[in-house]
Symmetry: C2
Subunit: 140 residues, 2 copies
């Protein structure tokens, strides 16, 4: 009976956690054949955008902390989807690129990426979809 009037179901954090869980579940179902997680797909997509990118910068672009990024990079690299080379200008850095296999997988997976977004937003009207994206951007 919510002692202090705190209703979990109405808290933005709880709603965001649940909405994210649902989006992830939809992603997992559609990407089962590709063997990619949402963060792995995000990393591939951003590496493709950037052509070549350091680990830290990729983390900023995909909203992953350096420790998390290291794990994602490691798994993509082990699977041969990306390849790294030492940066000559800055010896702390490793620059990462898609391999041919990575580019092929990304190309094959991309339409499912749009499918995930479409299915996740399916309960909303086009206008509501735009509103939701706009409001989410405002609170990030």
């Amino acid at each position: 009976m919510s002692a202090g009037g705190y209703r979990l179901e109405e808290q933005i954090g709880f709603l965001l956690r649940r909405a994210h869980q649902r989006a992830t579940a939809i992603f997992s179902a559609r990407f089962a054949g590709h063997g990619l997680t949402p963060t792995q797909f995000a990393a591939l997509a951003k590496i493709a955008d950037e052509d070549e990118v350091s680990q830290n910068r990729l983390g900023r672009l995909t909203a992953m902390d350096p420790a998390t990024m290291k794990g994602v990079i490691g798994r993509l690299s082990e699977r041969g989807l990306i390849a790294g080379r030492a940066d000559q200008e800055d010896r702390r850095r490793t620059q990462w690129r898609l391999t041919e296999a990575g580019a092929a997988l990304l190309a094959a997976a991309q339409k499912d990426g749009f499918g995930v977004t479409a299915e996740t937003l399916d309960p909303l009207s086009p206008r509501e979809r735009a509103t939701l994206l706009r409001l989410l951007e405002k609170i990030i």
Copy 2:
């Protein structure tokens, strides 16, 4: 240059992940003194609502899978914030309650719970806040 026109920043899943990350960061800052994570706090709040609740039911109420719930319950129980008893009617079940320490911590933490929500939604007008909650509920 988004080869297939796939813009990560506009995908609902990516926005939800980032918004959830920010909400969690705000929670962590405000709850540092209480030593509670968002899921632990959610579990305490729901146990208080229900008075006594089984592990699986609590998982459904707080949107946690049974394996996750077990970890959360274990940590709260180890800290003496909740206590479980074997259910006589259904011998598979354990029923969980707040201890006095748990009830006290929940009472002390609750105003910070509201603070997290307020800070997270701060960039939005009251009308926008209501809209965001409504749209999130629709896509869950």
